[in-house]
Each structure stands twice: as C-alpha cells, then as structure tokens.
Amino acid sequence: MKRILVGVDGSSESRAAAGFAARLAEATGAGLILVGIAFEADPLVDPEMKARMRVFEEQEIARMTTMIKAIADEMARPDLAIETLVETGGPAVALAEIASRKDVDMVVVGHRGRSAVKRLLLGSVADRLVQICTKPVTVVR
C-alpha cells in the first residue's frame, strides 16, 4: 500500500478513523493523507447571499485547516509520512473525488460523519462514500 486517505471532521468517530488509518499506514509502510472537507458556498443562490456564504466558506476552510494540522501534529511519528489537505464540497463526493485523483489504495472514514438529524435525512457520509467511491473504503467503528 502506498497511500491511505482518511476523512476527518473533528468528531470522535473521525479521530478513531484517523487512528486506524495511522496504524494501518505504519503496518504497511504507506503514507497518510489527512483530509478535511469544508462547507462549500452554493453557487446557485443570489449574489448577496453568495457573498455572505463565501465569507462563511473561508472561515470554515480556516477552521478545518487548523484542526487538520492539529490532528496531524498529534499523530506525528518519525516513520509516518502525513500530508494534510482541505477542500470544499459535499463530504462524500469530495472524498471520493480526491481518492480517485490521488489514486489512494484505501479511504478510511468513521461510521458517523454527520449530525443525528442530517444522518436521518441524508444517510451518513460513510454510506454515500461506499456507494460512490471507486477505491476500497474502510468504515471504522
């Protein structure tokens, strides 16, 4: 294995996923790509709203970047190469796209990546990812 991608959103489940991915990366000599997906401003809304959402999007990217860096620092080990990446979009679609683009060997996510209400309405990020991702996906519990 060369590259393992793990999606992190700050939840305890996603941290467990990151731990799993790090152990696997160490066992296989793979590099780890820590990915945070930030909210994306909807391009369809009216311009005034769009400008406000753009501000929110930038805040989200900054917040996510700080968090991902902090988690990468926590996980730092001499024999583990960690790359960090923050992109915007819908979490499952964005993760699947990055997985293809980076040609990773596995994608790792926690089994809950949304609030309880959103999960009820939309299903979990893991569900969606398993459906659309062309790479092997591990859902960590």
């Binding site: 294995m1 799993f20 152990r23 696997l24 066992a27 296989t28 596995m106 089994h111 979990s124 893991a126 569900d127 398993v130 459906q131 659309i132 991702c133 062309t134 790479k135 092997p136 996906v137 591990t138 859902v139 960590v140 519990r141």
Partner: protein, 150 residues
C-alpha cells in the same frame, strides 16, 4: 489487527475480495476467517425450510462450505482461521459471524451499485450500517474483473 472476517458470496469476484483480505492480514499479522451466508429468499420464513424436507438447506450449506474450503486454499496456512457457512440473510449472517469469531475487521465486496441497488440497499450497505466492528468494502469493478481474468 488480530482477526479479519471475510464475507464471500458465490460470485466469480469473491477471490478478489479474499486477496485483499489476505494481503491486509499478511501485512498486519491477522488471522483470516471465511464466511458465506447461504441465502434464502427474504419472503420465505426460515420455518418453511424445516417443514419441507429439510435436506435442501443441508445440501445448499454443504455445497457452499465446499466452495469456501476451496477458496481457503489460497490463504496461507499460517493465516487460516477457519471457514463457516450458515443459513442467513447475508448481512445478518456476516455481522453474526463477525461477533462469533470476535473479528476486528470485516472485509466484503460490493457490486457496482447500479440504479436499482442504490435504491434498494445492498448487503454491503447493510453490513456497513449494522456491523459491530470496522468494515472494509472492496469495490468489485470491471477493473477487478480484468485483474481476475488476466
């Protein structure tokens, strides 16, 4: 990782799923357990099988076990944990088998999720949602078919 349970079906793509699990087991020093559910139509109550000449389910399970034993030959001796079959709805059988062997990872294949599959949900989706442990879903794409054929 100590124990990996591989959920297999009778499809030609099973070896690809098994190879992925064996590769992972070799790298992590885990033991591999093979499992296959002998499917029954969901509208058929289990009791119907015991009322009819029960030989049918025994035969189906025996055939499935023979298939699974054949597949297990591709698992290095040192990594073999065993192979089992049971009469179950696949996702329930897989989750139950994972509990029974105290697996810490389930490896399963997933078909391409065509339109209808997505609507109805599949074994893989059910396992992901109900498994007691982490689940690795291996895509069984045309690429995988090509790997298998050549």
């Amino acid at each position: 990782m100590n124990k990996i349970l591989v959920g297999l079906d009778g499809s030609a793509r099973s070896p690809h799923v098994l190879d992925t699990a064996v590769d992972l087991a070799q790298r992590t020093g885990a033991t591999v357990y093979l499992y296959r559910a002998v499917g029954l139509p969901s509208e058929l109550p289990v009791i119907a099988l015991s009322m009819s000449p029960g030989d049918t389910s025994a035969l189906l399970q025996r055939l499935a076990k023979e298939d699974l034993d054949d597949l297990e030959h591709s698992v290095p001796n040192a990594l073999r944990g065993g192979a089992s079959v049971s009469l179950a709805i696949p996702w329930q059988g897989i989750c139950e088998a994972a509990r029974r062997v105290r697996a810490d990872l389930i490896v399963i294949g997933s078909h391409g999720y065509g339109g209808l599959d997505r609507l109805l949900g599949t074994t893989a989706a059910k396992v992901v949602n109900h498994a007691p442990v982490s689940v690795l879903v291996v895509k069984e794409t045309r690429e995988a078919d090509q790997d298998g054929n050549g």
